[in-house]
């Protein structure tokens, strides 16, 4: 847009509210945009519509009572939030978890990661206008939900992990169903790649769109696939390994350009790596108890501690300040989407409104975990 005058004489901009009720902002997010025709001049994400006060609730609940809250913060990777919260307490209190429970936790966490990425895949393409891959992805996701339903009792908001282990043991049917699922998903890659990855329109909508490079990611504290697509190999499962991840072989997919297409490819490759992890964990699943020795109401020692896990969206952190009683003194949850969403204030100015959907979708946020 060439300017012939040094400063504008008449400024004809208008304000557009995208959300909070909008088909494409996943969760209740309000984007306050200042537009000049179709170009965005300023973007201000307004959040807080889903603030439920989880951190305040933690201060008046026992550690065990807070467990259901953990998975409701990011309902799409609920098991990983479960796992992270429980592991944070165990690390602080020095509680040992038997190996069978660790392997079961890892298998369920990776299944959860796959289901979260599949949902992201379906909804991202749907936002761009292609309605069909959504149903294909959900068809696969149903199988995961059924598998997890059998063992945890719920399909979306799980409270499966307990301090010291897991709640219920897995049986042979779980193992057979998971193996069947791995084979089925691997056979679907061709469909997904033919339908979406090689689609000319999709490539035009995502290549070069919303470039987040290493420097921007550092300034905003991005993590997860957003950071990995920028070329940084940072995955908490490798850098600060927890549970049995040190014993498992998997790669960390990265991108080069940091645009929406790279983020898309990174997530698809992560699904494949998660399948590998599940296979290995199923091979090595040992016999044994599923709950270690833990007091009925755990009492971590005084002090504070920070524990990080790799959720589906990035680096999830639990900061617990304990006063030695059965109730936490302060529980802070560092949600991955918190850092990732802020990038929009930098990314959106200068782009078209239609690109907003593409960029927002490719960052993959879940607003309730930002709001807590």
């Amino acid at each position: 847009m060439a300017t012939q005058l040094p400063e504008p004489i008449i400024e004809q901009t208008y304000y557009l509210n995208m959300g909070p009720q909008h088909p494409s902002t996943h969760g209740v997010l309000r984007l306050f945009l200042k537009l000049d025709g179709e170009y965005i001049i300023e973007a201000d994400p307004i959040i807080g519509y889903g603030h439920r006060g989880h951190e305040k609730m933690a201060e008046s609940h026992l550690y065990e009572q807070f467990l259901p809250n953990a998975s409701r913060m990011d309902y799409l990777s609920g098991l990983i939030f479960n796992h992270g919260y429980v592991a944070a307490i165990e690390k602080m209190a020095g509680i040992e978890v038997p190996p069978r429970a660790e392997y079961i936790r890892v298998i369920c966490a990776e299944l959860n990661r796959i289901s979260s990425h599949l949902l992201w895949f379906g909804t991202y393409i749907m936002d761009l206008g292609g309605f069909t891959p959504f149903l294909y992805a959900f068809d696969d996701r149903e199988i995961i939900l059924d598998i997890l339903d059998r063992v945890t009792g719920s399909r979306l908001t799980y409270s499966y992990c307990r301090v010291g282990g897991v709640a219920k043991d897995v049986d042979d049917e779980f193992i057979a169903a998971t193996r069947g699922f791995i084979q089925r998903l691997r056979s679907r890659w061709e469909d997904y790649h033919n339908l979406v990855t090689k689609n000319v329109i999709f490539i035009h909508r995502t290549k070069g769109v919303g470039v987040i490079n290493r420097e921007i990611a550092l300034r905003f504290g991005c993590s997860g696939p957003v950071l990995r697509a920028a070329g940084v190999v940072y995955d908490i499962r490798r850098v600060e390994p927890y549970s049995v991840y040190p014993d498992l072989q998997f790669e960390i997919p990265t991108g080069t350009a940091g645009d929406a297409f790279d983020r898309y490819m990174v997530r698809l490759q992560e699904i494949e790596q998660s399948l590998r992890i599940i296979e290995q964990a199923l091979e090595r699943l040992p016999e044994g108890p599923i709950r270690g020795r833990a007091p009925r109401n755990v009492r971590p020692p005084r002090g504070d501690s920070y524990f990080a896990v790799e959720a589906a969206r990035g680096a999830l952190g639990f900061y617990i300040v304990s006063d030695g009683t059965r109730y936490p003194y302060r529980l802070k949850v560092r949600a991955p989407s918190f850092g990732n969403l802020q990038v929009l204030t930098e990314m959106l100015p200068g782009t078209l409104v239609a690109d907003t959907i593409s960029i927002l979708g490719s960052i993959d946020i879940v607003v309730p975990e930002i709001d807590r």
Partner: protein
């Protein structure tokens, strides 16, 4: 700079006794720094030069003061740094949003939930609560909490 240079830089900014190494496997951070509010800006700039990113800013409410906890982390293993700053009730902290854009939202959240103001923050308004709310929910005098403690009870010497 490298992480060791960062440690050296910290020693110049803060009293060396306020820097403690901790076991990353137990605590989750390898360096623990107790700083004053005027030292925060220099620490943040040193962290930026070491290629660390701002992971989280959290507030904690005690009987005697507020405590604001900063977490910086790098892309290598074992590089998380915790910086704890005690703030008296009613005082404010300088902002580090000029160094880290991520601080814009983290500081707004601390302001929203605790009422701790940040000087020179370009846009200090509420983040999670409605704009016209007149309370700060995570303070211990709001709603239901189990206990209110002083900093000594958590961080002090247990034998004292």
């Amino acid at each position: 700079m490298s992480f060791d240079d960062f440690r050296e830089e910290l020693r110049k900014v803060v009293d060396p006794a306020a820097i403690r190494a901790s076991d990353h496997g137990i605590k989750g951070y390898s360096l623990e720094v107790t700083a004053r509010s005027d030292q925060v800006g220099r620490i943040a700039r040193a962290a930026r030069d070491t290629d660390l990113f701002l992971e989280a800013i959290s507030g904690v409410d005690f009987t005697d003061c507020f405590q604001v906890v900063y977490f910086f982390n790098g892309f290598g293993a074992g590089s998380r740094v915790q910086v704890r700053v005690k703030v008296n009730k009613g005082e404010s902290l300088p902002t580090i949003s000029t160094v880290y854009d991520a601080a814009l939202w983290h500081e707004r959240e601390v302001f929203d939930l605790f009422g701790i103001a940040f000087d020179n923050h370009p846009n200090l308004r509420r983040l999670l609560l409605p704009e016209d709310a007149d309370f700060h929910p995570l303070r211990k005098d709001f709603g239901r909490v189990h206990a209110v403690r002083s900093t000594d009870e958590i961080y002090g010497d247990p034998t004292a």
